[in-house]
């Protein structure tokens, strides 16, 4: 082997080509001797010649394999010839003698490689002979192979041994008695041990600078070693007992003793892959114990992963067969021992292994499953406590994430989560948030309804420590992490920059998290309104202890939940004819307080919530409360809405809401009038004239309010097709005043195009009132407006948009003529 390094690849290729042509030619000669002349001795001579090519030390394993394949075919031909020859020779005894003689004869070959290949070739034929001393022949071949100590040549020779005898081994082990099977097993194991030794030894061949090259070569050769185990796994007559008592201990002993990480990594994985699932489970203890003894460089984690993957698939495929989960304890024992033996064992790997065990545990439905899971959480905590570096905590994230794999996530709300929660608390805020998100996602995904306080407490326990957490821990943590420069001093410049960036992304993150909780709140529901109320109060309580951002983001959702509760209370009390006004008042008060919390940060949201609650309270006929909500709205409008565009928009919503306050108008018109006066006043105080104009003509509707008759169905008139709306409030004078006022404001606008547009809008409003028969809006008034508009167009030219609008309005007026003859009097030139 040492000479190999001095050979260039080109030279190697040349040597290979040369060997190939010799082998081919010698095989051809051999076949000719066998086919035509039955000159066996000459044929063996040729066989010996081509086998001599396998004595080379100059080829790499792949090239050597090329030669091997050719030679295997050549020897196969010889085997078939000898078998046929033996069969023609009907007398079994003489056939036996013939093979014995041949077996001895080829042992005169002076070189060991050709000699052993020929011995194996003939010995393997001999094995199929019933009269042969099979055991002796097998052991003899095995023993003599020891003469080849060169790793590559020895591996191929022994591979040839196992390949040649494979059929015999598999057939006999399945049909014969126990002793034969044992012999066969021993034979294979023995060959395996020798091959592994050679394979490991290859690492130490040649110069130490070629270490990498050796590793590559060894990887190319590993299948040869593994083939022994593959054949073992193919023996039918192997039962659990044999596997556990004879096969596995022997194999593992060799694997452990060789103390070579490449061998251990590969062979242990082979064992996991090739032996049946139930063997794996029953031998778990032995196998895991061996894993504790392997070389430091062996990737135990990977091996455990592939073992557990295998078991998981087994369970998934045979759910009914595999019910006993007691073997899980072996894994627990294993990880405990691993930790005891190697305190320094990487936390990452430790967690990966625990996570695999968790995964496996979770596919079982057994009752004690959660005990095991709990134990795993406990082990994680113990490992963490051993660790000196507290930053390691994040590595346990994967364990916490395991809840994702709960078959039934509802279980998470029930199990003893003491350890889980402890572990959770050890994490950084980032991880905690992530886990909380997982909890929420799983609840949403599985459509799990939280319907009692225990469940709610369980979930909020996690939120409190994460998303809702009050102290600005997150940003502090951040500073300690990155703000220190090389000399451990805080670098101010970079601090500011990154702070801004981070602030933004942190805000985004927080908002997303809060949104998640809002979503979650929608999954809190109990149809018993008392319980539901308690649940909501509980959430409120949790929120009140949470940080400010989360309050602001989440409170609206909670308010809507309260409103939903009120609606439910209302519908129940409608049935029972018994409105619990007191309780409802209390809830409305709660809502008001909640709105109070958020109004500074989110004034528009606060207005919307107030108005929604005004509508709700109006529908329950709680006019005091309705009035309060409007007052609250006005206060926010006055104090907190500063931008004029938003002022206008808010005002429009207020006006629209006021229009729907039917119960208030009916029962408390004085209070209502106060409100509408205020709203109209707001309109005239808007900054932009166009906004003033529009707000005022919209306010006109506050003095003339109809209610759709269908809503008044509870009244005594049995509506039939009576679609005439019931008029709740009508003050023609006020309406006209509003229209006039808005007209004046429009006219005072210097941009005539805007003025014209407003004129047309007022015309439209006027037509509406005309149709509904408001006397103050007369034909004369309408004609005057139309004239004003057409004159304005004449003065300013027809801007397309406004003129189109104008024409459509006129067209509408004309279209009304057949229905309402009064329209004939409107001049539409």
């Amino acid at each position: 082997m040492s000479k190999q390094s001095s050979i260039t690849p080109q030279e190697q290729q040349k040597l290979l080509d040369n060997s190939i042509s010799i082998i081919k030619s010698e095989i051809y000669q051999m076949r000719k001797c066998l086919d035509n002349k039955h000159k066996l001795m000459d044929a063996l001579k040729h066989a010996s010649n081509f086998l001599n090519e396998l004595r080379t030390s100059s080829l790499n394993p792949k090239q050597y394999y090329e030669l091997y394949i050719l030679i295997y075919d050549g020897l196969n031909y010889l085997t078939l010839y000898l078998k046929d020859n033996g069969n023609n020779n009907n007398n079994n005894k003489s056939n036996t003698n013939y093979l014995i003689d041949l077996y001895e004869l080829i042992q005169y070959a002076g070189n060991i490689i050709p000699r052993l290949y020929l011995m194996i070739t003939i010995g393997s034929i001999y094995l199929n002979n019933k009269d042969a001393p099979i055991n002796e022949v097998m052991n003899d071949m095995l023993e003599m192979c020891k003469g080849v100590q060169n790793p590559i040549r020895g591996l191929f020779l022994r591979y040839y041994l196992i390949q040649r005898t494979k059929n015999y081994l598999i057939n006999s082990a399945s049909s014969n008695d126990d002793k034969t099977t044992d012999n066969i097993i021993n034979f294979i194991i023995n060959n395996f041990i020798e091959m592994n030794k050679l394979w490991v030894r290859l690492q130490f061949q040649g110069h130490s600078s070629e270490r990498e090259k050796r590793i590559i070569e060894r990887n190319e050769l590993k299948i040869l070693v593994g083939s022994n185990l593959v054949i073992l796994s193919q023996l039918d007559s192997i039962n659990l007992k044999k596997y556990n008592e004879l096969i596995l201990p022997e194999i593992l002993k060799q694997i452990i003793n060789c103390n070579d990480s490449i061998a251990q990594n590969y062979l242990l994985d082979v064992i996991i892959q090739i032996f049946p699932d139930n063997f794996q489970i029953s031998s778990l203890k032995i196998f895991l114990n061996s894993l504790l003894m392997v070389n430091m460089n062996v990737n135990i984690t990977l091996l455990i992963n592939s073992l557990i993957d295998r078991l998981i698939h087994y369970k998934l495929r045979n759910n009914d067969i595999l019910n006993d989960n007691s073997f899980l304890n072996e894994f627990i024992k294993f990880i405990k021992k691993l930790n005891e033996m190697n305190v320094e064992f990487s936390i990452n790997d430790y967690c990966l292994i625990l996570n695999e065990i968790l995964k496996l545990s979770l596919i079982f439905n057994n009752d004690d499953n959660y005990e095991i899971i709990n134990l795993i959480y406990q082990l994680s905590i113990e490992k963490y406590e051993l660790s000196k570096d507290k930053k390691d905590s994040d590595k346990f994230k994967i364990i916490l994430k395991s809840i994702k794999n709960f078959k039934n996530f509802q279980d998470f709300l029930k199990i003893n989560d003491e350890n889980y929660f402890k572990l959770f608390n050890l994490q950084s805020m980032k991880v905690k948030n992530e886990i909380s998100n997982i909890i929420i996602n799983k609840i949403i995904e599985n459509n799990i309804i939280i319907e009692n306080e225990d469940e709610l407490d369980r979930v909020f326990k996690y939120f409190n420590k994460s998303i809702l957490f009050k102290d600005g821990v997150l940003s502090n943590e951040h500073i300690s992490d990155t703000k220190l420069d090389l000399f451990g001093e805080i670098n101010n410049k970079t601090t500011k920059l990154s702070l801004d960036d981070n602030d933004k992304s942190q805000k985004d993150m927080k908002f997303k998290n809060n949104l998640k909780i809002s979503k979650f709140i929608n999954f809190v529901y109990n149809k018993d309104i008392n319980i539901q109320r308690k649940l909501l109060e509980k959430i409120e309580n949790y929120l009140s202890n949470g940080n400010e951002e989360c309050q602001i983001d989440i409170i609206p959702t909670l308010i809507y939940k309260y409103m939903k509760l009120l609606t439910d209370m209302k519908s129940i009390s409608n049935e029972e004819e018994n409105i619990d006004v007191k309780e409802m008042n209390k809830i409305f008060n709660k809502i008001s307080k909640l709105i109070e919390i958020i109004k500074e940060a989110e004034p528009i949201e606060a207005i919307r919530l107030n108005l929604d609650n005004a509508i709700l309270s109006n529908s329950i006929n709680l006019n005091n409360i309705t009035y309060e909500y409007f007052i609250e709205t006005f206060i926010i409008y006055e104090e907190l809405i500063i931008e004029n565009k938003i002022q206008y928009e808010s005002l429009i919503i207020i006006i629209n809401t006021l229009m729907s306050m039917d119960n208030m108008i009916i029962n408390d018109i004085e209070e209502f009038d106060k409100l509408i006066l205020k709203a109209t006043l707001y309109g005239s105080r808007l900054m932009k004239k166009s906004d003033q104009c529009r707000a005022i003509y919209k306010s006109s509707h506050l003095w003339w309010i109809n209610k759709d008759s269908e809503e008044g169905e509870g009244d005594d008139d049995e509506g039939e097709e009576d679609t005439t709306p019931i008029t709740l409030k009508r003050d023609d004078k006020r309406v006209l005043e509003c229209l006039q006022k808005s007209l004046r404001i429009a006219d005072s606008i210097s941009d005539r195009n805007i003025a014209i547009e407003l004129f047309i809008e007022i015309l439209n409003e006027s037509v509406y009132y005309f149709i509904h028969g408001i006397e103050s809006v007369s034909i004369r008034y309408l004609n005057g407006l139309i004239e004003l508009i057409s004159n304005s167009f004449k003065e300013n030219g027809r801007s397309e948009i406004q003129y189109g609008y104008y024409e459509r309005t006129l067209k509408y007026i004309k279209a009304q003529r057949p229905i309402d003859s009064r329209f004939f009097d409107i001049v539409t030139v």
Binding site: S2, G110, I112, I113, E143, K146, Q149
Partner: protein, 338 residues
């Protein structure tokens, strides 16, 4: 062997039952194969002599004689030495006249043939029949060689044996001269002399200090020519980069005695028993069938003229082609086949 271009007589020597007799093929001096009938010690040599005259002419003679001779022919420093150790004669015809063909039966009863036939490098031991027809001018002579096997069984071998399995340290024969001085003095001989005379396993424990330490074991020190050498080599310490290991059988032929003695060795068999370097603790099996090789029995002293001995040599060859070897004598004997 006729000295005349055309001998007036044609002599043919035939042995009784020749067709069924065992025949041995040996290489003649001229490089051809000779086929010779095989006789044992004490076996009667019996046959018929046919003497024909050419063209039915009358030939006068002074008598016909047949001899059975045993000769050791040694080559020593260019001189050929013949030494008859056996000579029997029989007169077949008194002086007279020969015409046509005449048959003369002959018989040498229970001849003791002390030695085995041998053709070596510098020695030949041969048995032959010599027919002499005495003539007025010069005698007409005809010879025919027979081959003699000397069988022995283990028991008489043991009785006679005062075997000295010699203790030789591991001899190191370096082909690389530059390293010559390195290990020469380190030869560490721990040979254990085997119990003398008994047939026993041969166990040896040899090595070079801090470099190599092996133990080897052969099942026996005496083998029949068709036997098999079985043994094992146990590596206790391996610091050499061994490339392979072989066994050789070396025949040593010693001619003469005293100051005139000279020996010549010939490697008869070379047999690779290990490919590659073993590690400490490895055991390498040995099995060498002897029957197929051209071996001769061990003779310590053949009529004070020569001896033939065979040595089993274990040779280790390292990656720099240096050879390390250890020889021990094995006793070969011809065992009568059942």
């Amino acid at each position: 062997m006729s000295f005349f271009f055309k001998s007036p007589l044609d002599i043919e020597i035939n042995f009784d039952g020749e067709d069924s007799r065992e025949i041995i093929e040996v290489n003649s001096t001229k490089g051809r194969k000779e086929r010779l009938p095989v006789y044992k010690d004490g076996e009667t040599v019996k046959g018929t002599l046919i003497v024909r005259t050419r063209d039915n002419k009358k030939v006068e003679h002074n008598g016909v004689r047949v001899q059975l001779l045993g000769t050791i022919e040694t080559h020593h420093e260019g001189n050929i030495n013949n030494d008859d150790f056996l000579s029997f004669a029989q007169e077949l015809a008194a002086p007279g006249t020969l015409q046509k063909s005449i048959n003369y039966p002959f018989e040498f009863r229970n001849v003791e043939k002390m030695y085995e036939s041998y053709r070596g490098m510098n020695v030949r031991l041969r048995y032959y029949l010599k027919v002499t027809v005495s003539m007025k001018s010069s005698d007409i002579i005809k010879e025919r060689e027979i081959w003699v096997y000397q069988y022995s069984n283990l028991n008489n071998l043991l009785a006679e044996s005062d075997s000295k399995t010699t203790q030789i340290p591991v001899d190191k024969n370096q082909s690389n001269d530059k390293d010559n001085n390195n290990n020469n003095n380190n030869n560490n001989n721990k040979s254990q002399s085997p119990p003398s005379s008994a047939i026993s396993t041969v166990k040896m424990d040899v090595g070079i200090e801090n470099c190599l330490h092996i133990e080897f074991e052969y099942s026996k020190n005496k083998y029949p020519l068709k036997g098999v050498i079985v043994g094992r080599i146990y590596f206790l310490l391996v610091r050499l980069k061994i490339k392979h290991m072989e066994l050789s059988l070396i025949r040593r032929e010693t001619v003469g005695s005293g100051t005139n003695q000279s020996s010549e060795s010939k490697t008869v068999v070379r047999f690779e028993i290990m490919d590659g370097a073993p590690v400490k603790g490895e055991t390498i099996p040995i099995r060498l069938f002897l029957g197929g090789f051209d071996l001769v029995p061990t003779y310590r002293d053949v009529n004070k003229k020569f001896s033939t001995r065979t040595f089993l040599s274990l040779v280790l060859i390292d990656e720099d082609a240096r050879r390390y070897f250890k020889q021990s004598e094995i006793i070969l004997y011809r065992e009568e086949e059942k």
